[in-house]
Structures are given as structure tokens and as C-alpha cells.
């Protein structure tokens, strides 16, 4: 135990100093709650931009947390936590958008004007523009919508979107272009 004793003296003999508790990046061996607490605002932001409804964001974040609880043990790479959570959020949001589209088709989805999607600091023009965009997005399928939203509302590059959506870059490029044409047409009609 010579080595241990030597280390004991080195590690314990230094008097502890008071310090500010700076948030450390949680490691994979740490508690999932600390991990999730770190990335929950990021997941919520993705949720808002994909769903466009503030009242659905909490449910999405909760769903992502549950999926993360069930699947964290499969994750080994610390760097992968953030994109992994983003991929779960995208998958959950896409499912929600599909359900919403089905409800709309059946006449059960509520009419949404999306005037509240922008935050309190938005100008009336910005508010109207974002509302028009989300109304246009409501008219398209979930895959097109997710691809376009990640590209133009979240500012992700095509490669990242392809990884998040589990498909090729060319597919994403095609979806973004198609969705873009539809959104532009709708915005011009609204204007």
C-alpha cells in the first residue's frame, strides 16, 4: 500500500478551498439526470422549432428524457450525447407531426394561427412571418417539414440533418428544396 499511502497524503493533505460551483460537463458515468439537465434547453429549442407549438414542447422534452433513460446504457461516447438527444428529439417530433397531420385530416386537430410561436421580443412583422411559415409547414408531410425546419429555422447543415434524420444528404437536399418551394409559395400567397 506504499503507493496508496503516498497518494493519500498528496490528495488529502491540501486544504480544501471555497470555490464557486461551476457546472462541469457531466460524463457518461455520471447520473443521467445531470446529463439531461444540461441539454434539456437545447432539446426544448429543437422541439419548439420543429413543432411550432409552445404547449407541446414540455411533452416532447419528457418523451426524450424517457427514451434517454431507456437507452443511455447503449451510449459510450461522451461527445455523442448532444447529437444523440437531438436525434431522439427529431424522431419524437416527427412522430408528433405525423399524429397531428392525421388528426387534422380527420378534422380533430385545432386551428392554430401560430401568432404566439415567436417570443415576446419579436416585432409584429417577424411575428406575422413566423406564423405564415408555420401555417405553410402544416400543409406538408412530416419528413419535408422536419428537413426544412432543421435547415432554415434551426440553421443546421445538410450533413447534420441527414444524420439526425437517418437518411442520405441527397435525400435531405431534395426534401429541403421541395419544402422550400412550398413555403415560399405560401408566404407569397399570404403577402
Amino acid at each position: 500500500m506504499t503507493a496508496d499511502l503516498r497518494v493519500t497524503s498528496r490528495l488529502h493533505d491540501v486544504a480544501p478551498r471555497p470555490s464557486l460551483a461551476v457546472a462541469l460537463e457531466p460524463s457518461l458515468t455520471d447520473d443521467i439526470e445531470d446529463l439531461f439537465r444540461c441539454y434539456a434547453p437545447y432539446v426544448a429549442r429543437i422541439g419548439l422549432r420543429l413543432l411550432g407549438r409552445r404547449d407541446e414542447v414540455d411533452d416532447l422534452v419528457q418523451d426524450v428524457f424517457e427514451a434517454a433513460l431507456l437507452g443511455l446504457r447503449q451510449l459510450r461516447d461522451r461527445e455523442a450525447v448532444r447529437p444523440w438527444l437531438a436525434a431522439i428529439a427529431v424522431r419524437k417530433a416527427r412522430g408528433q407531426l405525423r399524429r397531428r397531420r392525421l388528426l387534422r385530416y380527420l378534422g380533430f386537430d385545432r386551428d392554430e394561427d401560430y401568432l404566439e410561436v415567436a417570443d415576446a421580443g419579436a416585432t409584429p412583422v417577424e411575428r406575422q412571418l413566423l406564423a405564415a411559415v408555420f401555417r405553410a409547414l402544416d400543409d406538408m408531410g412530416a419528413d419535408l417539414r422536419v428537413a426544412w425546419s432543421l435547415r432554415h429555422l434551426d440553421g443546421e447543415d445538410l450533413q447534420t440533418i441527414a444524420e439526425l434524420c437517418c437518411c442520405s444528404v441527397s435525400t435531405i437536399k431534395r426534401r429541403v428544396e421541395l419544402a422550400h418551394a412550398l413555403v415560399m409559395e405560401k408566404i407569397r400567397d399570404d403577402a
Binding site: V7, R17, P18, R37, V117
Partner: protein, 349 residues
Amino acid sequence: MTREPMRDLEAARARLTIEWSDSRTSALMVRGRSRLRRRRRALGLALAVTAIALFAALGGRLAAGPGGVAIDRPHTRPQPQRMQPPLPMPASRQAPAGTPRAPAVTGFSVVAESRDADVRVRRSGRDAGAPASVDLVAGAARFEAVTASPRRLELRAGSVAITVQAWVFSASRAGDAIELAAVRGPVQVWVEGEEIVLVEGARRRFAPRQAPPARPRPRPSPAELASVDRLLTEVDAARAAGDPERAVMLLERVATEYARAPEAGLAAFTRGRILLEELGRPRLAASAFARAAELDSRGRLAEDALAHEVEAWHRAGDAAQARDRARAYLQRYPDGYRTERVRQLAGLP
């Protein structure tokens, strides 16, 4: 809106923000955990019902479990599709004359099934929230729930501790093990965090877990030892400079990148202490102590690390985890020098 909607959109998308707080995350995590628990419970129930239905449909023989003994069922009677209260015990199954009468346990009728039966009550079960607990010192006994729903009972024999929820079951002591038989209705058993369901008529033996054979830890190379030495010097410097965050980060590197080094366990332990005492992050500290116990599983540090892990969970306000780890401590170190403290922190009797 200008003629260039995309340029406007570039600016407008910055207004797609959401105010988020730690308390909101906490509330969602509590809701998420609770929903997962409900789903797991429903799944367990569905599996149990399916197993019972299959058993009822197939009848005949049933294997008692992996490596278990096949039990002959001399006659089959219609199996209930849902749990029903126990029937009165037939005279032929009652304890032979002269067998000692086992003490009463709240919610259960306990009958000795052998002359040497010795069942001692550890906890009566009268307090809400904690199931009754008994020590099966010797012999065999039969436990029958005397309530309208199956009751939960903690059963101990030496270092083996299981929790049972059932209508009627019989338990016997075999050396250091408990042999359990589901007499009537399904028996749910929780052992070391694992849930097992025994269908009616099944038997299972619960023995102390055998420690895996000790593997000699590979010796670290001189280069690794030098790296560890350098990192520990940096740890000293960081702590002396009042930078515990950096010290924690460096200690984590020692514990993960140089796990073969003799200092790895102590590094993980020290990381836990800094997180707990200097940075006030008990959850991270708990995982660090767990890592220390793992790295030094056969050394004297393991006991201290496990006790500290209980304290960390206690400080984190996670009573369930604290109790769980405290039970592990008490099972592993029944005469440990931190027994009293661990019991006190976890609220165990």
C-alpha cells in the same frame, strides 16, 4: 415583410426561443420517471397474466426456472385468470403436530412446516411504507396473506435478502440459501433489484451471489505510472490554487484512463469527496464513489466508498437510492465500521 422573405426569416428565427429553467426540467424528469414506472408495472402485470394464462392453457409440467427442478403436478385444477384470495389450508398441508408455532407477522399467517422451524420477526410491518421483515433462521415455514390483496414481505437468511409479494408461499432454509415455493397464486420476488415471477407450483432457490473469481489486475506500464504521477501533481496544484473543478476533471482522467494504476480507486474516491464536500454535487459524487468501489473492489477503500455513496444519495435527497446502497453495504459489510451511520442516513432500522 420585405421582398426577400428568406432574409427576413434569418432575422425572425432568432425570435424562436423558449424560456427554460432547471425546475421545469426537474418537473418533467419526475413526470417521465413516474410514467416509466407505470409502464413497467403494467408490462410486468401483463407478462404475469400471460404466463398464468399460458400455464393454465398448457397445464402439466412446468420448468421451475433456469437450472431448476421440473415439478410434477399430480393433478391439474382450473387456474384462476385473476388473483383470488387464498383458500383455507387443507388439513393435510397443515404443520405436523408438535412443530413450533411461528410468530405472527402483520398481514400474514405464518405456520411452521418443520419441527426445527425458527422464524424471527425483524420488523412487524405495522408501520405504513415498510413491509414486514422476518429472519428465516432454520427450517421451513408457510406464509399466507390474510388480507384481500397479496402482501409484501421481506425474507432474510444469512446474507440472502429477498422481498416477496404473494398470497401463499412456503420458504425453507437450506444452508445459506432460501428455497421458495409458490403454493397458491403467482409469487413476485425482488432480489438485488431484479424481479422474478414464480407461477403457482414453481420453486426457486435463492443463494448468496458468488463473487467472481479474482482476476489479477494487469500491471500498469512505467509510462502509464509516469502519466498518473504527472496528473496527480497537477491535481495537487489545482487544489492548492483553489480550483477544485480542474482537480475533479484531472482525477476523472486518472480513474478512467489509467484504471490499472493502483492510484485509480483512490483518485475516484477523492473526486467523490471534492464533488460532495467542495462543489456540492452529490449525484455526481455518488457515481464517483461507486466507481471507486468498483476500482478497489477487494481493497479496504471499497467499504468506505460504499458508505460515502449512501451519504451522497442521502444529500441528493434520493432516499430510494440511499436505501438501496445502504442495504448493499449492510449485506456486504454486516459488521462494518460505518454500519450505524449508514443505517441512520438511509433511515433503516
